[in-house]
Amino acid sequence: MLKVQAIAVRFTALLLLLLAASFAAEPRRINVYAPQALYQVDILFRDGVDYVGLTDLLEPLGRLESGVDGKKLKLTFNGAEAEFQDGKRQCRVRSNKLDLPSNFLLVDGRGYVPATSVAQLLPRLADQAANFHQASRRLFVGSSEIHYSTDLRHSPSRLVFSFTAPVNPSTVIEKNRVRLLFRREPLVGPVPETVSYNDVFVQSATFAESPAGAELTVNLLQPATVSTGDGGRTVTITATPPPQAPVAAPQNAPAAVNPSSGGQQPHPAPRAHPFVILDAAHGGSETGSMLSPSLAEKNVNLAFARRLQKELEARGVYVVLTRVADNLLTWDQRAVSANTSHSSLYVAIHTSSTGQGVRFYTSVLPATPPSTQPSAQSAPSSRTFMPWDQAQSPFLAQSSAAASALAAQCTSAGLTSRTSAAPLRPLNSVTIPAVAVEIAPTDGNAEELAAPEYQQRVATALATGIAALRDKLEVAH
């Protein structure tokens, strides 16, 4: 009997250990929605309190310099000074004292503040309003929030959601229910979160948010189709007379066109999608090459990507980045980000201390039969299955054309440039036109790569070239 009990105790302990391990394996993060970037910050759990790293939080928002002096962390963010002390609640921000809800932590030279304090801290430090939704771990910085209103209309019966900015939700149509999933949009909901309708078509609409994003669930009494319009600012759920089998459709699949939807487009307008996805290569423990003893490629790549992002946005180009902080992404994660971003162009950014100027690379793949090459006006079918390591094949001609155009732009800006093909990951697995750029110094001095003047010169040339590609690639994509 005792032996059976001992086995039961050991089995229970093992189960608990496995359970704890599964919880430990799930990284907890805060989603930060800011006008500059959408990014995630890892949570450090200490003494029953959720902490966030100050560097991870602030670096994507502006210029940050920090240094550790004994137990003190001193930082300057966009010119504003702040000082924190390990194990103390009180800190100083712009010569004002502020009490944190828990002690400040200094771990391995990195400063951590309680997650609940960021809504107090950011307005003082960054001069930007901040709204932290603790339960869903979503942080809204500045004027990033997107709000919505609903309008129930008749003849035909339809529920129209109007958003304050373009959105691109994934749509799931189920029997008597439509779910709109907002994974990247900083959508916030109304109070109360559920609105009931006394209608023959719509029963209720509910807003919910979680760490995975926001979700609008509409309970219906009739089958419906979903369409978007006004450049992604409206989503309309319209009743369809004949009953339909339950269908789950991702957002990028063609939705049914309702002729009575007032001329709205079944797809979001092209401008609702980013045009280009920038991929700062390497990151985290993978430093890339050491350009000089103190200059890691991963950091210079990110600096170039950010500068290029600003230049592109100044030209009205909608940009997303695969990473905005010093975190490690696998090759496949980068390819998946590119393939699900609805972008028209993927640009990987590398830097090198060898050679000169700017080099552009496209994929090396076996020859593709002409029948699978897309024409200039038609994108290849997204429904054609391709091997993962040859998925770029149908886009290779467009990638080469984009690389040549960018190289020509750099040459006209006085930079040495050339194009080539290289077996470089993840280019082969990207299902949009894809180019890798490797930026080298002009004179063999690797320190030039970190110089703002050189970065700006290259970023300006690249941004001009990418902006000029918009008409060609958006039509084709």
């Binding site: 390497h282 993978e286 890339g288 090459s289 050491m290 490629e297 090759w331 590398h350 090198s352 201390s353 060898t354 050679g355 080099r359 690379y361 090396v364 793949l365 076996p366 020859a367 390591d389 050339r418 194009t419 080539s420 093909a421 290289a422 077996p423 470089l424 990951r425 082969n428 890798a436 490797e438 080298a440």
Partner: protein
Amino acid sequence: MISRRLQIVIVTLVLAIFAMGAYLVHLKRKAESISGPPVSQALTPPVSGPAEQLVLYLASDEQNSLRVTAISSALPSDSGERGRLALHALIARYLEKNSPHPLGPGSDLHDVYLLDPASAVVNLNAAFADTHRSGIEVEQLSVFSLVLTLKAQLPQLTRVRFLVDGKPRETLAGHIDLSGWYDVDAVSRASDTLK
């Protein structure tokens, strides 16, 4: 109580240990000064027989190009051995002083295996990958020159795969893909895009 005679013996033995230790250190230093630094050349085993032409695709960092060079050498009849010898000769060129495309010390390959006349697996040593300079351009030149030099010796070759110390590796030095098979024709076309 230890006798005086025993004390003298112990002290003598301890002194002898120190003296021998010092002499050993002296001998080691002398041997190191005679042998010099470790040999970093890839060594090619001697092969007897008539001399044949060996075509090498030599990379040049400065020109960012592959230059075709022919040397005369006795070659074995076995295809895998011919491929190995050709790559040995190529790597030896890269390890020379004033190399146009320097590789790290100790770079070499273990073997070339032919799965069939069209498929070759090149097993590089760890030093080749671990000491290779990192960057798209320099890694691209190394891989292209190896693939095309092998193809020059084995005309039926259509695909090549690289291992490092017998194991698959993601990239050569952080950039160029080593995880899959290289289509030799695709590499040949891509090498045309070099300057």
